[in-house]
Protein backbone atom coordinates (compact mmCIF):
# COMPACT_ATOMS: atom_id res chain seq x y z
CA UNK A 1 0.00 0.00 0.00
CA UNK A 2 1.39 3.37 -1.02
CA UNK A 3 0.39 5.58 1.92
CA UNK A 4 1.54 9.11 2.63
CA UNK A 5 3.69 9.24 5.75
CA UNK A 6 1.39 11.64 7.58
CA UNK A 7 -1.49 9.11 7.53
CA UNK A 8 0.64 6.67 9.54
CA UNK A 9 0.98 9.24 12.29
CA UNK A 10 -1.00 7.64 15.13
CA UNK A 11 -0.97 10.66 17.42
CA UNK A 12 -2.40 12.97 14.75
CA UNK A 13 -5.29 10.67 13.94
CA UNK A 14 -5.85 10.03 17.66
CA UNK A 15 -6.06 13.79 18.24
CA UNK A 16 -8.45 14.09 15.32
CA UNK A 17 -10.76 11.31 16.55
CA UNK A 18 -10.71 12.62 20.10
CA UNK A 19 -12.18 15.87 18.79
CA UNK A 20 -15.45 13.96 18.41
CA UNK A 21 -15.56 13.16 22.13
CA UNK A 22 -17.64 10.51 23.80
CA UNK A 23 -21.40 10.64 23.56
CA UNK A 24 -23.60 10.37 26.62
CA UNK A 25 -26.92 8.58 26.97
CA UNK A 26 -29.92 10.56 28.18
CA UNK A 27 -30.17 11.55 31.83
CA UNK A 28 -31.14 8.83 34.27
CA UNK A 29 -29.67 6.08 32.10
CA UNK A 30 -28.01 4.26 35.03
CA UNK A 31 -31.19 4.53 37.11
CA UNK A 32 -33.22 2.99 34.28
CA UNK A 33 -30.74 0.11 33.90
CA UNK A 34 -30.86 -0.57 37.66
CA UNK A 35 -34.66 -0.35 37.62
CA UNK A 36 -34.82 -2.98 34.86
CA UNK A 37 -32.37 -5.19 36.76
CA UNK A 38 -34.43 -4.95 39.97
CA UNK A 39 -37.68 -5.60 38.08
CA UNK A 40 -36.19 -8.68 36.44
CA UNK A 41 -34.90 -9.98 39.77
CA UNK A 42 -38.38 -9.71 41.34
CA UNK A 43 -39.95 -11.47 38.36
CA UNK A 44 -37.38 -14.26 38.61
CA UNK A 45 -37.95 -14.60 42.39
CA UNK A 46 -41.73 -14.73 41.94
CA UNK A 47 -41.31 -17.38 39.24
CA UNK A 48 -39.15 -19.48 41.61
CA UNK A 49 -41.76 -19.18 44.38
CA UNK A 50 -44.53 -20.22 41.98
CA UNK A 51 -42.46 -23.15 40.73
CA UNK A 52 -41.88 -24.27 44.30
CA UNK A 53 -45.58 -24.03 45.10
CA UNK A 54 -46.40 -26.02 41.96
CA UNK A 55 -43.85 -28.68 42.93
CA UNK A 56 -45.16 -28.85 46.50
CA UNK A 57 -48.76 -29.13 45.27
CA UNK A 58 -47.79 -31.90 42.84
CA UNK A 59 -45.99 -33.83 45.59
CA UNK A 60 -48.99 -33.37 47.91
CA UNK A 61 -51.37 -34.57 45.17
CA UNK A 62 -49.25 -37.65 44.47
CA UNK A 63 -49.06 -38.47 48.21
CA UNK A 64 -52.84 -38.01 48.53
CA UNK A 65 -53.54 -40.16 45.48
CA UNK A 66 -51.20 -42.82 46.81
CA UNK A 67 -53.13 -42.77 50.10
CA UNK A 68 -56.57 -42.93 48.49
CA UNK A 69 -55.64 -45.33 45.71
CA UNK A 70 -52.86 -47.56 46.98
CA UNK A 71 -53.21 -49.56 43.78
CA UNK A 72 -51.28 -46.65 42.18
CA UNK A 73 -48.58 -46.79 44.78
CA UNK A 74 -45.14 -47.56 43.50
CA UNK A 75 -44.41 -49.14 46.86
CA UNK A 76 -47.20 -51.71 46.87
CA UNK A 77 -49.21 -52.45 43.70
CA UNK A 78 -52.34 -54.23 44.85
CA UNK A 79 -55.39 -54.02 42.50
CA UNK A 80 -57.53 -55.94 45.06
CA UNK A 81 -57.37 -52.86 47.34
CA UNK A 82 -59.34 -50.73 44.86
CA UNK A 83 -62.74 -51.52 46.44
CA UNK A 84 -61.78 -50.90 50.10
CA UNK A 85 -62.45 -47.77 52.12
CA UNK A 86 -60.04 -44.84 52.10
CA UNK A 87 -59.21 -45.35 55.77
CA UNK A 88 -58.34 -49.00 55.16
CA UNK A 89 -56.26 -48.08 52.15
CA UNK A 90 -54.42 -45.39 54.09
CA UNK A 91 -53.83 -47.79 56.95
CA UNK A 92 -52.59 -50.42 54.54
CA UNK A 93 -50.29 -47.90 52.84
CA UNK A 94 -48.74 -46.78 56.12
CA UNK A 95 -48.47 -50.30 57.47
CA UNK A 96 -46.80 -51.47 54.24
CA UNK A 97 -44.39 -48.57 54.44
CA UNK A 98 -43.84 -49.24 58.14
CA UNK A 99 -43.15 -52.92 57.42
CA UNK A 100 -40.63 -51.98 54.78
CA UNK A 101 -38.90 -49.54 57.11
CA UNK A 102 -39.09 -52.01 59.98
CA UNK A 103 -37.40 -54.60 57.81
CA UNK A 104 -34.49 -52.20 57.34
CA UNK A 105 -34.39 -51.16 61.00
CA UNK A 106 -34.95 -54.59 62.54
CA UNK A 107 -31.29 -54.87 63.30
CA UNK A 108 -31.68 -52.21 66.00
CA UNK A 109 -34.97 -53.82 67.24
CA UNK A 110 -37.11 -50.72 66.67
CA UNK A 111 -40.72 -50.90 67.93
CA UNK A 112 -43.02 -51.52 64.88
CA UNK A 113 -45.49 -48.92 66.24
CA UNK A 114 -42.77 -46.28 66.20
CA UNK A 115 -41.68 -47.36 62.72
CA UNK A 116 -45.29 -46.88 61.58
CA UNK A 117 -44.91 -43.11 62.02
CA UNK A 118 -41.73 -42.84 59.97
CA UNK A 119 -43.34 -42.17 56.57
CA UNK A 120 -45.66 -39.61 58.16
CA UNK A 121 -42.77 -37.87 59.95
CA UNK A 122 -40.73 -37.73 56.75
CA UNK A 123 -43.71 -36.25 54.88
CA UNK A 124 -44.17 -33.60 57.61
CA UNK A 125 -40.45 -32.78 57.51
CA UNK A 126 -40.48 -32.42 53.71
CA UNK A 127 -43.50 -30.08 53.88
CA UNK A 128 -41.85 -28.02 56.66
CA UNK A 129 -38.63 -27.76 54.63
CA UNK A 130 -40.53 -26.58 51.55
CA UNK A 131 -42.41 -24.07 53.68
CA UNK A 132 -39.14 -22.65 55.06
CA UNK A 133 -37.59 -22.33 51.60
CA UNK A 134 -40.69 -20.70 50.15
CA UNK A 135 -41.11 -18.20 52.99
CA UNK A 136 -37.41 -17.20 52.78
CA UNK A 137 -37.71 -16.66 49.01
CA UNK A 138 -40.83 -14.55 49.58
CA UNK A 139 -38.97 -12.39 52.11
CA UNK A 140 -36.04 -11.98 49.71
CA UNK A 141 -38.41 -10.97 46.90
CA UNK A 142 -39.97 -8.29 49.10
Amino acid sequence: MNTPQHIDDQSAIRRMVQHAGLESPSQGFAARVMQRITAKEIVVSKRIVWMQYALLSSVACVVLLMLVFPAWSVIEIDPAMAGSSAAQMAGSFFSNAAHSINAYTSQIHLNPQVAYFFPLSIAVLVVALFDQVISRKMQAAQ
Partner: protein, 195 residues
Protein backbone atom coordinates in the same frame (compact mmCIF):
# COMPACT_ATOMS: atom_id res chain seq x y z
CA UNK B 1 -5.31 0.09 35.49
CA UNK B 2 -6.86 1.62 38.61
CA UNK B 3 -10.33 1.48 37.01
CA UNK B 4 -9.66 -2.11 35.97
CA UNK B 5 -8.90 -3.10 39.58
CA UNK B 6 -11.89 -1.20 40.92
CA UNK B 7 -14.13 -2.79 38.27
CA UNK B 8 -13.09 -6.21 39.57
CA UNK B 9 -13.85 -5.13 43.13
CA UNK B 10 -17.32 -3.94 42.10
CA UNK B 11 -17.94 -7.18 40.18
CA UNK B 12 -17.05 -9.17 43.31
CA UNK B 13 -19.41 -7.02 45.38
CA UNK B 14 -22.24 -7.66 42.91
CA UNK B 15 -21.52 -11.40 42.93
CA UNK B 16 -21.58 -11.33 46.74
CA UNK B 17 -25.17 -10.07 46.56
CA UNK B 18 -24.76 -6.29 46.50
CA UNK B 19 -26.55 -5.58 43.22
CA UNK B 20 -26.37 -1.81 43.88
CA UNK B 21 -22.61 -1.98 43.21
CA UNK B 22 -23.48 -2.60 39.57
CA UNK B 23 -24.70 1.00 39.35
CA UNK B 24 -21.07 2.14 39.80
CA UNK B 25 -20.07 0.04 36.79
CA UNK B 26 -23.01 1.38 34.76
CA UNK B 27 -22.08 4.99 35.58
CA UNK B 28 -18.40 4.39 34.78
CA UNK B 29 -18.93 2.70 31.40
CA UNK B 30 -22.23 4.12 30.16
CA UNK B 31 -20.67 6.83 27.93
CA UNK B 32 -18.34 4.46 26.09
CA UNK B 33 -20.99 1.73 25.86
CA UNK B 34 -23.47 4.23 24.45
CA UNK B 35 -20.88 5.71 22.05
CA UNK B 36 -20.03 2.26 20.64
CA UNK B 37 -23.72 1.42 20.22
CA UNK B 38 -24.52 4.81 18.65
CA UNK B 39 -21.58 4.67 16.20
CA UNK B 40 -22.84 1.27 15.04
CA UNK B 41 -26.63 1.76 14.91
CA UNK B 42 -26.66 5.54 14.12
CA UNK B 43 -29.84 6.16 16.08
CA UNK B 44 -30.05 7.59 19.60
CA UNK B 45 -33.09 5.60 20.79
CA UNK B 46 -31.78 2.29 19.44
CA UNK B 47 -28.31 3.00 20.84
CA UNK B 48 -29.74 3.65 24.29
CA UNK B 49 -31.84 0.50 24.12
CA UNK B 50 -28.82 -1.54 23.03
CA UNK B 51 -26.61 -0.07 25.76
CA UNK B 52 -29.30 -0.85 28.37
CA UNK B 53 -29.76 -4.39 27.06
CA UNK B 54 -25.98 -4.84 27.05
CA UNK B 55 -25.68 -3.84 30.71
CA UNK B 56 -28.55 -6.14 31.68
CA UNK B 57 -27.02 -9.05 29.74
CA UNK B 58 -23.71 -8.33 31.47
CA UNK B 59 -25.42 -8.33 34.88
CA UNK B 60 -27.20 -11.59 34.18
CA UNK B 61 -24.07 -13.37 33.00
CA UNK B 62 -21.67 -11.73 35.47
CA UNK B 63 -20.78 -15.14 36.93
CA UNK B 64 -19.29 -16.13 33.57
CA UNK B 65 -16.88 -13.16 33.75
CA UNK B 66 -13.64 -14.80 34.88
CA UNK B 67 -11.61 -11.64 35.32
CA UNK B 68 -8.85 -12.71 32.92
CA UNK B 69 -9.82 -9.82 30.60
CA UNK B 70 -10.75 -6.28 31.66
CA UNK B 71 -14.40 -5.86 32.67
CA UNK B 72 -14.71 -3.04 30.11
CA UNK B 73 -13.45 -5.33 27.32
CA UNK B 74 -15.94 -8.02 28.33
CA UNK B 75 -18.79 -5.48 28.56
CA UNK B 76 -17.99 -3.77 25.24
CA UNK B 77 -17.92 -7.16 23.51
CA UNK B 78 -21.53 -7.70 24.67
CA UNK B 79 -22.52 -4.19 23.52
CA UNK B 80 -20.68 -4.60 20.19
CA UNK B 81 -22.32 -7.96 19.43
CA UNK B 82 -25.79 -6.68 20.42
CA UNK B 83 -25.37 -3.61 18.20
CA UNK B 84 -23.97 -5.57 15.23
CA UNK B 85 -26.83 -8.10 15.34
CA UNK B 86 -29.23 -5.12 15.50
CA UNK B 87 -27.72 -3.65 12.30
CA UNK B 88 -28.01 -7.05 10.59
CA UNK B 89 -31.70 -7.19 11.44
CA UNK B 90 -32.33 -3.59 10.39
CA UNK B 91 -29.94 -3.47 7.40
CA UNK B 92 -28.64 -0.03 8.35
CA UNK B 93 -27.31 1.70 5.21
CA UNK B 94 -23.96 3.45 5.13
CA UNK B 95 -22.07 5.28 2.45
CA UNK B 96 -19.36 3.26 0.67
CA UNK B 97 -16.22 5.37 0.37
CA UNK B 98 -14.69 5.78 -3.04
CA UNK B 99 -11.05 4.98 -2.38
CA UNK B 100 -9.98 6.73 -5.58
CA UNK B 101 -10.85 10.09 -4.03
CA UNK B 102 -7.78 11.42 -2.29
CA UNK B 103 -7.83 14.72 -0.57
CA UNK B 104 -5.29 17.39 -1.32
CA UNK B 105 -4.52 18.27 2.32
CA UNK B 106 -2.10 16.75 4.77
CA UNK B 107 -3.31 15.52 8.15
CA UNK B 108 -1.57 18.44 9.85
CA UNK B 109 -3.45 20.87 7.61
CA UNK B 110 -6.72 19.16 8.49
CA UNK B 111 -5.86 19.37 12.18
CA UNK B 112 -5.01 23.05 11.83
CA UNK B 113 -8.36 23.64 10.09
CA UNK B 114 -10.14 21.65 12.79
CA UNK B 115 -8.44 23.65 15.51
CA UNK B 116 -9.59 26.85 13.82
CA UNK B 117 -13.29 26.01 14.07
CA UNK B 118 -15.20 26.06 17.37
CA UNK B 119 -15.31 22.94 19.53
CA UNK B 120 -18.94 22.12 18.79
CA UNK B 121 -18.50 22.21 15.01
CA UNK B 122 -15.21 20.32 15.34
CA UNK B 123 -16.89 17.49 17.25
CA UNK B 124 -19.73 17.49 14.73
CA UNK B 125 -17.39 17.26 11.73
CA UNK B 126 -15.31 14.42 13.12
CA UNK B 127 -18.47 12.69 14.39
CA UNK B 128 -20.01 12.94 10.92
CA UNK B 129 -16.82 11.61 9.32
CA UNK B 130 -16.82 8.61 11.69
CA UNK B 131 -20.51 8.16 10.98
CA UNK B 132 -19.77 7.72 7.28
CA UNK B 133 -17.62 4.68 7.97
CA UNK B 134 -19.13 1.19 8.03
CA UNK B 135 -20.74 0.52 11.47
CA UNK B 136 -18.12 -2.01 12.63
CA UNK B 137 -15.30 0.22 11.33
CA UNK B 138 -16.67 3.19 13.28
CA UNK B 139 -16.65 1.07 16.44
CA UNK B 140 -13.08 -0.04 15.73
CA UNK B 141 -11.88 3.57 15.35
CA UNK B 142 -13.71 4.57 18.54
CA UNK B 143 -12.24 1.73 20.58
CA UNK B 144 -8.67 2.24 19.38
CA UNK B 145 -8.35 6.01 19.18
CA UNK B 146 -10.91 7.23 21.67
CA UNK B 147 -10.78 4.70 24.46
CA UNK B 148 -7.15 3.59 23.95
CA UNK B 149 -7.94 -0.11 23.82
CA UNK B 150 -5.09 -2.36 22.72
CA UNK B 151 -5.18 -4.41 19.52
CA UNK B 152 -5.56 -7.50 21.72
CA UNK B 153 -8.59 -6.00 23.53
CA UNK B 154 -10.20 -4.96 20.23
CA UNK B 155 -9.62 -8.43 18.85
CA UNK B 156 -11.42 -9.83 21.89
CA UNK B 157 -14.30 -7.34 21.61
CA UNK B 158 -14.90 -7.70 17.88
CA UNK B 159 -13.96 -11.35 17.44
CA UNK B 160 -11.52 -10.40 14.64
CA UNK B 161 -7.95 -11.72 14.63
CA UNK B 162 -5.25 -9.30 15.83
CA UNK B 163 -3.68 -9.10 12.37
CA UNK B 164 -7.10 -8.38 10.87
CA UNK B 165 -7.62 -5.57 13.39
CA UNK B 166 -4.21 -4.07 12.47
CA UNK B 167 -4.95 -4.18 8.73
CA UNK B 168 -8.42 -2.73 9.24
CA UNK B 169 -7.08 0.11 11.40
CA UNK B 170 -4.43 0.92 8.80
CA UNK B 171 -7.08 1.21 6.07
CA UNK B 172 -9.45 3.07 8.35
CA UNK B 173 -6.85 5.76 9.04
CA UNK B 174 -6.82 6.57 5.34
CA UNK B 175 -10.60 6.45 5.03
CA UNK B 176 -11.15 8.61 8.07
CA UNK B 177 -8.58 11.07 6.80
CA UNK B 178 -10.55 11.38 3.55
CA UNK B 179 -13.85 11.65 5.36
CA UNK B 180 -12.69 14.38 7.75
CA UNK B 181 -11.26 16.31 4.83
CA UNK B 182 -14.48 15.84 2.89
CA UNK B 183 -16.52 17.09 5.86
CA UNK B 184 -14.14 20.03 6.32
CA UNK B 185 -14.39 20.96 2.66
CA UNK B 186 -18.18 20.75 2.76
CA UNK B 187 -18.29 22.85 5.93
CA UNK B 188 -15.84 25.44 4.68
CA UNK B 189 -17.37 25.51 1.20
CA UNK B 190 -14.42 24.15 -0.75
CA UNK B 191 -14.40 21.28 -3.23
CA UNK B 192 -12.72 17.88 -2.93
CA UNK B 193 -9.83 17.41 -5.32
CA UNK B 194 -10.53 14.33 -7.38
CA UNK B 195 -7.61 12.59 -9.04
Amino acid sequence: MQHHQDDLTQVQRVLAGNSAAFAILVNRHSDMAYTIAHRIVRNREDAEEIAQDGFIKAYQSLRSFKGDAKFSTWLYRIIYNTAISHTRKKQIPYEEIDERIIGGHTEDEILEDLDAVDAELRAELVGKAIGRLAPDDAALITLFYQDDHSIEDISHITGLSQSNVKVKLFRLRQRLHQQVQSEMDAALGTKIVTL
